[in-house]
């Protein structure tokens, strides 16, 4: 790919990014952040590629650490985002007449 094509993609992606992300409400900024965090874990692809031509031990160690770092970033990021967003999903309607002990009991059990 030519450099100019790549720069074109970069500039367009920046505009799309600003456009899409400015529509995310503040309530969801923490999950947004951890989700975009997981997305930049895509650098792990670079780790996979350099692992392919890692010949000396130092390069091999670097590749393993880079892949492990990227995998932590991806797996941890998406999982923790999923956990957080699960809390924003509306639960089945609680009857307002329920006593507070019931309410606190059920909210406690849903945390796990």
């Amino acid at each position: 790919m030519s450099l100019m094509t790549e720069i074109t993609i970069f500039v367009l992606a920046a505009f799309v990014g600003f456009e899409v992300i400015s529509k995310v409400p503040t309530t969801l900024h923490t999950p947004l952040m951890s989700q975009t965090n997981a997305i930049h874990g895509i650098v792990m692809l670079g780790g996979l590629i350099v692992a392919g031509y890692a010949n000396d031990p130092i390069e091999q160690v670097i590749a393993v650490i880079a892949i492990a770092f990227g995998a932590i970033n991806i797996v941890g990021g998406f999982m923790v985002t999923d956990r957080m967003l699960g809390m924003f999903v509306r639960k089945p309607k609680e009857k307002p007449a329920e006593s507070s002990t019931d309410a606190s009991g059920s909210s406690g059990s849903e945390e796990g």
């Binding site: 031509y53 492990a68 967003l85 924003f88």
Partner: protein, 474 residues
Amino acid sequence: MLDLPSAVLKPGGDAAAALYILAFSCFIFGVRQGTHPTTAKRGNLIAAGGMAVAVATTLLLDGIGNWGLIALGLGIGTAVGVIASIRVQMTEMPQMVALYNGVGGGAVALIAWSEIRHGLSIGEDFPLDTLIPILFSAVVGSVSFWGSLIAFGKLQGILPGQPVKAPGQQILNAGLLVGIVVACVVLSVNADDPSQALFIAVLVAAAILGNLVVLPIGGADMPVVISLLNAFTGLSAAAAGFALDNVALIVAGTLVGSSGTILTLEMAKAMNRSVGNVLFAGFGGAPAGGAAASAEERPVVSIGAQDAAIKLAYADSVVIVPGYGMAVAQAQHSVKEMADELEKRGVTVNYAIHPVAGRMPGHMNVLLAEADVPYEKLREMEDINHEMPRTDVAVVIGANDVTNPAAKNDPDSPIAGMPIIEVNEAQQVIVIKRSLSPGFAGIDNDLFYEPNTSMLFGDAKKVATDVAAEIQEL
């Protein structure tokens, strides 16, 4: 065994390119779905699916080998990621995000190093459109890795949360930055045979810079720092995409860069400070001499849980203003119980969330969502400020500077101009707080001394539980 010639994709070929385009489309669509709580969870799954496509495509590329190394790295990373994300508490989310962000930046820097080593070992020339992105990703990745680790340490309480300041720090930082740029120029000029030793020196200098920039920043400024580091890692990933000619990396990295930039600017705006001021002024921590010293003994009205319960139970509308102090006291569930008691009596309860109420953007919303507060009740600052004059009682729990009317009324205040939740406009204010001690900005809060303000001293969790019990007995 893993030799699958029919399934192997040509690097840079159309099939691989198409799959990468599919992957980044999933990222953009996934983030787009994040604009509403009901679709956000599915959006996250779509983005994760895009990531799976990107990883699978790369594994099928011709030239990918050393499967043992790949399996080892993937195994370690997946195990750590799964365990960490299951164990983490919602109050610890900022440091978790900082850590994930850091390892992402670290991966970028390591990949850059590996590319330099590999190019040198096969005696290959580096075209400038490869070398410059490599250098950029190495520097920014390294800054991001170390900066994020320091942010993690501060948020986790391993390092002091207070600003750590040393004389001449700015000059040292500037010197490091100039040195890094000069070294990168030298490396680029000798693109036919760049010195690996100089490259490693650049990585180390960037590491020191990352440490020095974040160390002086105090805990309450972390929302800006974390957002900024997120933007940095995103941009370094995009640069890695330029170096590797990988369109998925460019788009994904740029998307993250945009997101981090938007959040950084929003957080800085919410504190009425420039990003440069947050990074380099070492604000807060030490009491700002003049303001703190002039705080003479002023009378406050102190009430107990029963008085507070009466005020709240006979109100029509109550607005709860939570701050980081509520999260520290782990009081969110008790506060929800108190709100439930009020709602049972027909009181309208809303929550006013200041943009920097937690330790990262939107943190307070997550903490309250965890306590089962419906997201419709989580109101943004500008929105709820219009309703403050019609609010009977505002309850401030563990928040301080973000409610200080001095930000509006006193042009000489260090926080002058900072947008605040205008609780002083409410008919009555109850402040639940341990003591009258100043908040992060180190200044006295005029709100505490206003005639319609009552102080309810104590631990937020215990006080909220007590008030809930008192309301129940009325």
